[in-house]
Symmetry: C2
Subunit: 463 residues, 2 copies
């Protein structure tokens, strides 16, 4: 069979399967509330469903756990070139529930879009890749490739056991190229592919006052940890967005920054301006604009308050001096920053400012990772994107978001590119998460073409 014939046949299959996977398969994935922050029996149900879907597509499947939520590992083909596909079946909590227009755990199709928790992040991508792989499955031998799939269940809580799973199966995870969990369509219709993801330190900090909540008549004399929490937060970051922790910016990889800045020069900034307007914002942090905002978003580390709570947070009034105050902070790291060192610096800073009694709970901790733009898998996906989206993709040196990609790029030494079915309006991690149906179909085509391109073009080993 000629290359052209194979390509045409696969693309025929893509059209066929992409409908099936969008409705039936994605619905079955969304229906299981695999919220990793909640845990429970639904996690194993979710992993089981992914495993059986992969089996039906022709994969050999294994479910592995290193004490956390199970991960599904699957393999198809015996070819000389290997490609590794990464996804996760877990999702973010759906709250605030009252802001959803429909049940987050039922697929809702309306106005050319599908809604549900995880349709963009990341169950829609699982479905899209399964559709592409089902279309490719008859031709795996012709393409002389080996496809490996890892679908984990802990990405939204910082992938605490993924590194152990990879380290314990290092050879298996070493591949000639890989496809990371996402990519998304911009306002201009171009696919945005991120070649790296920031690292993460997610901590919950707690200050305590009295051993129990006390009637707030006592507030003139009983210390209130909420006031202290407010003071503590103000010494972590200033109004301009600059982190005040000494040494926080010290170890940033300058070579990465240079590469990143030059890639960002090719990216237009209209999406950022449109986002600002959609969010009803007068300006960004520190009044950043254009290229400067783009650089801050993709190349700066940051500290964010994801949650803050103390005392009575219900309806109406309750009058107490709360006994505790807590803040959930997510710290996003760029290449060069070591999560352990960063955490240590934060704690030293707080200690030096009389918060030595602060309690810390570490939710997750991992470093940033990235692939250089010259890698063969990046070229394969760039070419595939031109064809599937009919437009040149945007290549970002690093996403705004985090992901444990370093486990693949730094530990398994597998260069990674991106693919994905979400778009700028997908409301990832927020109520009414959604994807556009046309993006789903283009996304399936893009994955299939990336794999064909990768199988049929010369390799440039190592990112």
């Amino acid at each position: 069979m000629s290359g052209r014939d194979l390509r045409d046949k696969v693309l025929g299959g893509v059209e066929h399967y992409s409908r099936k996977y969008l409705y039936d398969v994605l619905n079955s994935l969304v229906e299981i509330p695999t919220v990793s922050a909640w845990g429970g029996a639904d996690m194993a149900r979710g992993a089981g469903l992914v495993a059986s879907l992969l089996k039906e597509t022709g994969f050999n499947v294994e479910v592995k756990s290193e004490g956390g939520h199970p991960a599904v590992l699957a393999e198809m083909g015996e070819g000389s070139r290997s490609i590794l596909i990464y996804n996760h079946y877990d999702v973010q909590p759906p709250d605030p529930l009252e802001l959803w227009d429909s049940d987050p755990f039922k697929l809702r199709v309306v106005g050319g879009k599908v809604y549900g928790r995880g349709v963009a992040d990341n169950k829609g991508n699982i479905a899209a890749r399964l559709a592409a792989l089902e279309a490719l499955s008859p031709y795996i031998e012709d393409l002389d490739i080996k496809v490996k799939v890892i679908v984990e269940g802990e990405e939204e809580i910082g992938s605490p056991t993924l590194e152990r799973i990879v380290a314990g199966n290092l050879e298996w995870f070493k591949a000639d190229g890989g496809i990371w969990e996402t990519a998304y369509v911009r306002r201009d219709g171009r696919l945005s592919i991120s070649l790296g993801f920031k690292g993460m330190v997610y901590v919950e900090l707690t200050l305590r006052g009295a051993s129990r909540d006390v009637h707030s008549g006592y507030s003139p004399i009983v210390p209130n940890p909420a006031w202290r929490m407010a003071r503590m937060l103000t010494i972590i970051k200033d109004e301009s967005g600059r982190v005040l922790v000494p040494g926080f910016y010290d170890d940033i990889d300058v070579e990465f920054l240079k590469m990143g800045e030059s890639l960002l020069e090719l990216v237009d900034v209209e999406d950022l301006e449109a986002l600002r307007e959609e969010l009803g914002l007068k300006g960004f942090v520190g009044d950043l604009k254009g290229y400067e905002a783009l650089k801050a978003l993709h190349l700066n580390p940051s500290i964010n308050i994801s949650g803050l709570y103390s005392g009575y947070t219900g309806k109406g009034s309750k009058t107490i001096v709360p006994s505790t105050a807590s803040a959930k902070l997510d710290i996003r790291l760029v290449p060069g920053q070591d999560p352990n060192k960063i955490l240590e610096k934060l704690l030293e800073h707080l200690k030096a400012n009389n918060f030595e009694d602060m309690e810390i709970h570490v939710e997750s901790m991992y470093r940033a990772g990235y692939t250089k733009p010259g890698a063969a898998i990046v070229k394969a996906s760039t070419e595939a994107a031109k064809e599937a989206y009919n437009k040149e993709p945007h290549i970002l040196p690093m996403a705004a978001g985090s992901g444990p990609i370093y486990i693949f790029t730094n530990i398994a030494k597998t260069p990674m590119t991106g693919a994905g079915v979400g778009y700028y309006g997908s409301k990832v991690h927020a109520p009414n998460e959604n994807i556009r149906i046309e993006d789903f179909h283009k996304g399936v085509k893009h994955v299939a073409l990336t794999i064909i391109n990768f199988a049929t073009t010369p390799l440039t080993r190592k990112a």
Copy 2:
């Protein structure tokens, strides 16, 4: 019948009824979750129960509403001297529920104590006064008194409609003396009676960022209202507990302060030290000790954070830039401070510091009120306390807590004293709220004797 005979008969009745009211009646009151912050049908059920209990005791009863939760007004006797008894049937929310050792809405009797939401604040006092009134009811004519009872349902949300009810029935609320909702037993076994209560301004302040929660990858550029809230709170109060709002302390009534300070000199400070230890605190705010802590507690106005929330406050991690951050502040006022002016000063201060976009929701707002220690009703209750508790009571110029007593002392011009069944360990507004059974019985006796004393000693009109 001689005064001695009547007294003995009433005290016999007190012993009898105090058992009945502690178990059956208090249980029936606790079982209705009259959480005024929640509202709902239970409020009317609660008012209905109080009304029928008063009717059974021989009162003429009327239920009134000025658009809020209903208040029960009752009257018995036609005597020449009038006494007004104030209570509230509403309670604080029970949360955090997980810290209760039993259902907050079922009376639990164990180890000489009874537990349940409201047993101290304020349903136990309703039951105790009903017991005393049932014992007194055959002798109302002999005592030549008129007893008026008001039981409202909005105290815990700041009594928003009580003032309208009183203003609309001003003659009815004018009495020669009155008994306020509480008093409590100290560690030394002495009853602590407060002659005044602080005022209150309860507000919820909200800052907004983006129009929706955003994936926290955007945190380098999307403004996070939680950081701003932290900054805003730090300009409201300093570490020593001093309020930073300009003019906050300006209008405090100096004459009241003088009177208060001299009364507090008679109060011993051991209870405060014991409280500090019980709460596991190394020190009080600003390292206040002894008489200075006592003065701060009873004579200082204050601003407290009762609740603080932004973003994800659930289990585990969620990574968002929250779209809102809110703080519930309760501001306690002392005589001389005008709630409207104080609120205005706070808002001006925040506006002047670039928080002009802050949104405010006012939950409640009322001034402080107090009775001078020389009033006849205060003397009657002091003498009654010596007999019921076998110890001299502590007379405080003002409680640490708030209550709309000004409606009685300032508007209806009725001097008020206190009585109550709680003790230092009652955990008012907190999980495992409880009273001691022996305090309940003493409390019933104290109320009965206060009324007898008041009916039989010369009047000093006006507080």
